[in-house]
């Protein structure tokens, strides 16, 4: 049975979410991994493991964006991850 329409978003929300899962989730994944690599003493294993974990993280964030009803809430979670990670990258 196809999904019930009343639960689905439409129009701009839908477009915003598609942008969020591609660009927002990618940027969040990327900065999160770099920040993690900066914190730990040896960054190489983190960087190399990211070839596996990046995709899981990216897809996990995609699912998260869709589970949050409002697009802007999803965006703010992503932006929060990006800014906190960026701060860590900048400071360390």
């Amino acid at each position: 049975m196809p999904a019930k329409k009343k639960y689905l978003s439409s129009g701009w929300t839908r477009f915003s979410k598609v942008m969020a899962i591609i660009f927002g989730a990618y940027a969040a994944t990327f900065t999160l991994h770099i920040a993690l690599a900066k914190i730990v003493p040896d960054d190489t294993p983190v960087l190399l493991t990211s070839v596996f974990t990046s995709f899981f993280c990216w897809v996990g964030l995609m699912v998260m964006v869709y589970m949050i009803r409002r697009a802007w809430v999803g965006w703010s979670v992503l932006l929060m991850i990006i800014s906190v990670s960026s701060l860590i990258i900048y400071v360390t």
Binding site: M1, P2, A3, K4, K5, Y7, L8, Y26, F30, H33, I34, A37, K38, D43, T44, P45, L47, L48, T49, S50, V51, F52, S54, F55, F56, W58, V59, G60, M62, V63, Y66, M67, R69, I89
Partner: protein, 570 residues
């Protein structure tokens, strides 16, 4: 069996929708990737089938240095300061392949790739090959025929495949245990496709996750690893490279003096004696023929996930430099992790058994993609949709099935074209590619004339079955090596012929005896009064739900234990 607690109603519907949309968008690209990828697992073996140069016994006394000298001469002097990579003869590929660089003029350098035939000592440029079955299929696997974007496109398909897998598991979670063994052929078509889709999805889950992640890595490497390495190490990326591959720290002098170091044959036998269980894949050399010449021997036993390695040595003494080598099963984490991706993606562990399992699982995944599209269509063939919408769903399904199912006859066609086009004809690889792609297009268009999916399927199975039968015949007629001849000499040539015989037999058997084409067309017709107004009233909803409940009652093993037992015994 206990039902698991799944996501709530809202999340269930949202994830269901994203699963459907992501699945439909990537479906036929994913099918092409999996179908071409399954055949690419046996790339070297197919190359032996297609190219007569590869059909000769391995020459045990072949002098590698002399062969290299001939290649060197052909290209007017190789630039040995650059990396020169030499792949050794194997049973499936008994030629010596050389990947190096040569000075085109005094100031410009170009990469070269060639193989030398041990029997005739003829040098063949690999970039302008004689034959192109395995290459065309392999390039199709990651859309290399599409310039620039092809690779990224395949990477994105991999990423959204992972997304579809994760959302699929979420949706199916509630039924994960109860429908673990729902091998059921009863019920409405929608429940048959759904059961097939979910059961095979669960069986293939680990494999599909592996392929989604490693495939996305190969396509999107440039998004993940490259900018990260740049950000962390700035311009100095060698810092990273030396941790992954310690051999990178070894250098050679551009102005080194010429020197008679140990021969490749001597060192080859020395490495082989040290690792008798391993195959020596290739040696990567720098400054060959100079005093400080380096050799990096890549070895693999094709069994373990971490059993490949690289031995570094100076060619003048042949002593393995342990601190610059990555030894089999004795590597640091950083040295192993990228290697895992290659091993997992190409199935180069667990011997041939693993590659055969990979092949079968790839085909199962192809079936899952098709069944997913058919669920999409049958779930929309009801009163909730207008006639116009239903006709659109039908047409999309028809196109998808035509593109995907026509790959079977098209692949048989490229094998046939390889034998039909004479070997000495100029521009033959271009012609073979044209036959393949135009043939695929023609088969796709041919399938669009059917409005019954079963009839369409029957058309492709019959066509593909007949073409498959012709493949071993064409091989026998052209090369004069029939299955019974190649059985004892070139096993894989015989296995590939047998594969096509088996495929042809199965396809024709199913098409002629098993597949039943029903009377009525799949083209949507009006349901009668009130149709076409896009009704979403409670009444329509209730009637559809009631019908679906009825169908489910027939096909649900939880509701009907007898059926469950029947399903298990099948």
């Amino acid at each position: 069996m206990k039902k698991l607690k799944g996501p709530g109603n809202k999340n269930y519907n949202v994830l269901f929708h994203t699963h459907t949309v992501a699945g439909i968008v990537i479906s036929f690209a994913l099918f092409v990737i999996f179908y071409a990828g399954a055949f690419s697992l046996f790339r070297t073996e197919v190359a032996q089938w297609e190219n007569p140069d590869m059909r000769q016994p391995v020459d045990e006394n072949f002098n590698f240095d002399e062969a290299l000298a001939i290649v060197d001469e052909t290209y007017g002097g190789l630039n040995y300061y650059e990396n020169t990579n030499i792949w050794f003869p194997t049973e499936e590929s008994p030629v010596l392949r050389v990947y190096g660089a040569f000075n085109k003029t005094d100031s410009t350098m170009e990469r070269m790739a060639a193989y030398i035939n041990p029997a005739t000592l003829e040098v063949q440029d690999i970039q302008e090959p004689k034959t192109t079955v395995s290459d065309t299929i392999y390039f199709l696997h990651y859309f290399r025929q599409l310039p620039i974007i092809g690779r990224y496109l395949s990477g994105l398909v991999g990423l959204f495949f992972l997304f579809a897998i994760v959302t699929g598991v979420f949706i199916h979670w509630r039924n994960l245990l109860t429908k673990m063994y729902a091998f059921i052929k009863e019920g409405s078509w929608k429940s048959i496709w759904t059961n097939a889709h979910t059961v095979l999805g669960v069986i293939g889950l680990p494999f599909q996750v592996i392929y989604a992640v490693t495939g996305a890595f190969f396509g999107l490497l440039v998004l993940i690893l490259v900018p990260a390495a740049f950000l962390l190490y700035g311009g100095d990326q060698e810092q990273l490279v030396s941790k992954v591959n310690p051999a990178a720290a070894l250098t050679v002098e551009k102005e080194a003096t010429a020197f008679q170091h140990l021969s490749l044959n001597e060192l080859y036998h020395q490495v082989q004696a040290a690792y008798p269980q391993h195959t020596i894949l290739n040696v990567s050399t720098r400054n060959y023929g100079k005093e400080d010449a380096l050799a990096f021997w890549n070895i693999d036993d094709h069994q373990g996930i971490n059993s490949n390695g690289s031995l570094s040595m100076r060619m003048k003494d042949g002593v393995v430099l342990k601190e610059y080598s990555t030894l089999p099963n004795d590597k640091s984490y950083s040295m192993s992790v990228i290697g895992y991706i290659f091993k997992l993606h190409f199935g180069s562990f667990g011997g041939y058994t693993m590659r055969i399992i990979y092949f079968v699982l790839s085909m199962i995944t192809c079936f899952m993609i098709i069944s997913g599209v058919l669920i999409w269509r049958t779930a929309r063939d009801n009163k909730r949709y207008t006639l116009k919408q239903r006709i659109f769903h039908h047409k999309v399904t028809k196109w998808y099935l035509a593109i995907c199912l026509s790959m079977f006859p098209a692949f048989a066609l490229i094998f046939l074209a390889n034998k039909a086009v004479p070997l000495d004809m100029a521009g033959r690889t271009g012609l073979v590619n044209q036959i393949f792609f135009l043939g695929w297009l023609a088969f796709t268009i041919g399938g669009l004339f059917f409005n019954k999916y079963a009839a369409q399927n029957k058309f492709y199975l019959t066509l593909g079955g007949v073409l498959s039968f012709l493949v071993p015949v064409a091989n026998g007629l052209v090369t004069n090596q029939w299955i019974w001849d190649s059985w004892d000499t070139y096993h894989w040539v015989a296995y590939i012929d047998l594969f096509w015989l088996f495929a042809g037999f199965t396809a024709l058997y199913v098409a002629l005896f098993e597949l039943k084409v029903k009377e009525e067309s799949d083209y949507p017709t009006p349901f009668g009064k009130g149709d076409g107004e896009h009704l979403e009233t409670d009444e329509v909803e209730e009637s559809i739900v009631a019908e679906e409940e009825k169908n489910r009652a027939v096909a649900d093993p939880v509701l009907d234990p007898q059926l469950a037992i029947k399903g298990l015994s099948k």
